[in-house]
């Protein structure tokens, strides 16, 4: 077992609402090691995306702590957390989140350019070839199918060689066949690069491909992590 890359301790998230404080997550703890994969499952509104946001440092917990790649996110401000994300984290989203104004190659180049990589273009091209889009480099997102867009998003997520990849319903907008191929690609790359994968999904089959799963219900973990 490798070193812990992601540790959450007693995470809670409470938000104010018209009816008083609303608890979205309550005292949730987990720990992942390098190369691990975790599926977070649960019904809509169970707190899955909130948990993902907290683990990735996109949001701050009301209580508890998150340690990502050795950085305790609690005391860090937004810009410091952004720096941790830039160095250690990749994302794949349900809605792909590609920039419409950029073509496939440019979308994959984006994190590399932000990181100042001189070989951004070459590296992005290699990755797109790896995900089977070597002939679609100059296509804009609008010219690509949903599955192709998600492959571009996966290539972008792996471009900066993250330690942890967060995927939010990566197959949620795709038909089952395409979804299957996308999840194959995701796990292949995960395995190739030794990335830790945290994915939120409704898809039980996808969840089962992960080493571990947790199920959330109303902000509580009802099915604990399996070792």
């Amino acid at each position: 077992m490798g070193p812990s890359i992601l540790i959450a301790r007693n995470l809670s998230k409470v938000v104010p609402s018209a009816e008083g404080n609303l608890t979205i997550l309550q005292e949730l703890s987990l720990e992942l090691t390098q190369g691990d994969s975790l599926a977070i499952v649960g019904a809509s509104g169970s707190g899955k995306s909130t948990l993902l946001g907290l683990l990735a440092g996109l949001d701050q917990p009301s209580a508890g702590s998150v340690t990502l790649a050795g950085h305790d996110l609690g005391p860090l401000d937004e810009d410091q957390r952004a720096r941790v994300r830039a160095e250690h984290v990749g994302f794949v989203f349900q809605s792909f989140q590609l920039l419409d104004s950029l073509n496939a190659l440019e979308n994959v180049m984006l994190p590399l350019e932000l990181d100042g990589r001189r070989d951004a273009r070459e590296h992005a091209r290699t990755l797109l070839e790896r995900v089977g889009l070597g002939k679609r480099l100059s296509h804009s997102p609008r010219q690509l199918s949903g599955g192709e867009q998600q492959r571009v998003a996966i290539a972008r997520a792996f471009a900066a060689e993250p330690d942890v990849l967060f995927a939010d319903e990566p197959t949620g907008n795709l038909d089952s066949h395409t979804g299957e191929r996308i999840s194959d690609l995701l796990f292949e790359l995960n395995k190739e690069r030794g990335t830790t994968l945290v994915l939120v999904t409704h898809d039980e089959r996808l969840a089962r491909r992960c080493h571990r799963q947790i199920r959330l219900e109303a902000g509580h973990m009802v099915s604990p992590m399996e070792p």
Partner: protein, 780 residues
Amino acid sequence: MAHLSLFRLFALAVRQLLRDARAGELRVLFFGLLIAVAASTAIGYFGARLNGAMLLRATEFLGADLVLQGSSPASDEQIERGTRLGLAHATVVEFSSVIATDNGIQLSSVKAANAAYPLRGELRSAPEPFGKETAGGGPAPGEAWVEPRLLAALDLKIGDSIDVGMKTLRLSRVLTYEPDRAGNFYSLTPRVMINLADLDATGVVQPGSRVTYRELWRGDALVLADYRQFLDGNLAPNQRIRDARDGNQQIGGALGKAERYLNMASLVAVLLAGVAVALSASRFAVRRFDASALLRCLGLSRRQALTLFCLQLAILGSLAALAGALLGWLAQLGLFALLDGLLPADIPEGGVVPALAGIATGLVALAGFALPPLAALGRVPPLRVLRRDLLPVPPSSWLVYGAAILALGLIMWRLSLDLLLTFALLGGGLIAALLLGGLLLLGLRSLRRLLAGAPLAWRLGLGQLLRHPLAAAGQSLAFSLILLAMGLITLLRVELLDTWHNQLPADAPNYFALNILEDDKAAFSKELAGFSSHAAPLYPVVPGRLTQINGEAVQQIVSKDSAGDRAVQRDLSLTWAAELPDDNTLSAGQWWQGQPQADVVPGVSVEAKLAESLKLKLGDRLTFVIGGETREAVVSSLREVNWDTFRPNFYMIFQPGTLQGLPATWLTSFYLAPGNDQQIVALSRAFPAATILPVDALLEQLRSILAQVTLAVQYVLLFVLAAGLAVLFAGLQATLDERIRQGALLRALGPGGRCWSRRGASSSACSAPPAACSPPSVAR
């Protein structure tokens, strides 16, 4: 990511911008700004060049760009400095002298000029009285050019000789027009023009003689300004400087009005453009919320994300501003090409200032109107990548409106250079906006209640508007103000053209008759009534000098080179009148009823601007020296005088019964249709003492200037219209996404075509694009 330098951000911004431009999202912003800068630059150039052309015309009234005038010759140092600066130079010496012939004598106004004179405009002359005019040239040594009335008075013809002092000169031509005569014809004796080379030989100019020396200068404006600055510090007490600005009141009035109008029009164009920029910047920001969230998610800091977008906007703004300035420059070239033949050929170039000013105006508008919506991009929470409903906290309304008002204030100040006017306009605009906004809000809230039972099409069309009455009121208000501004500009144009038309009707007086003797008055009036139905009343003229105000010498009260100073340096034409003249309006005090009582100091009515310069107020006691006698009068009223008309007008009008008994001549102006020159000749012969002065040339010049200004006004409206179109375009673009989304949804739900078109109509008629000058209202 922390090491992402500004250079790298800049490079990234350029790359993003190129890619975004390809996607077409930034085109609205680019074109909005392009039109703004182009309109502002074109108007700037047009105004500056037209102003230059008009000033050039106005300089004709001086015969030069700058005149140094004094009762003694200019010093060698003053002449040398001007010559060293490379200015063109001419010298004119003027004095009164009795012209003697075998037929008699006539007091005349002699002008001795060298060959360079005039530096602006041209002399015109004819081979015989009322013969065919030709322009250019001047009397050669040994020759004299004279006005026709001298020929009439002394029964001379061309070819005869006259004596000016000790020098005998041959009359070679009839002088019909002197460019620099127009502004100063009230105290005229017939003109005799001679060559400066003959001046010494006349022996007329001796120490102590009453002579006016005028050094005429022409050259580049900057060099002239430099020279003027030198002169200001080296001016003898008996010298003063004149330039086109104080050349002629009629021209000055027309120029001032035109300049104010052009500035007002460009202000409206910039205001419109500002709204277009605000709309497109708001759309720019809204459409980049996702990108901003993603970039933050990928590790960009808040400041870096904001810098990246600001750089994009700055690059885009600079490119649009440069392209706009070029387009504006080309537009004004095209405009002047269109007006070829109507405008003088030697229109001065505008320089780079209008282009720079246009660019600066565009960038200030961009900063004021676009930065606040853009600031929201720095506040987009990165969590938006997971929850698209998360929106940045909208910027404070104070920031949004404050920045826009500050930008607007700066632009207004630049255009008007009048801080008080800027505050007044901004204050007035704010009060109007608050009142109108309040009314709109009330109206929209009432409409919301009414709409509950309205058909679906109306509820769909107006629902979006009425759900947020405050934002909708803001948007409607912005567009109302735009329409108001455009309407105001159009109305002002009509008003301006009417004023000018009334100022110079076709039958405006084209002759002045001066120096009509008391004994000739009745006969002259009768003769005049015989051939002109458009004659002004006859006014008495008594030359007199204002010497004291409330017992204190006037020289100690007035400031050097002010209008008041000029008025007290010379004899004023004093008059008396029982009734207030037509072109005058009282601004203070009362007009008198009848003559003063024997033991009361009589009243005098003073022209308001002169009164201001002399620091006069009602009740002040003025002392005049008239024909060696001292007379006192009390300021009983102040008058606004319309100097733009070609009728006799006076600085000082006395109560009837106060100047009678003093030597007076009479003055009038009248209109005589062209082609009736023989009647003028007959009039001159019947009343040889009177001076009949044609002002056709002056009128023609003024008409030509007004024609140019009128054209400018017409074309300026085109630019305002272009800016208005930019707003419309930006507005339509700004609501496009929402309309497409709603339209697709409606079509999917399947309402009939009528419902669809009604919804569009009701929405378009009532709504303004969202976020006009408001925080990105997508926050809702």
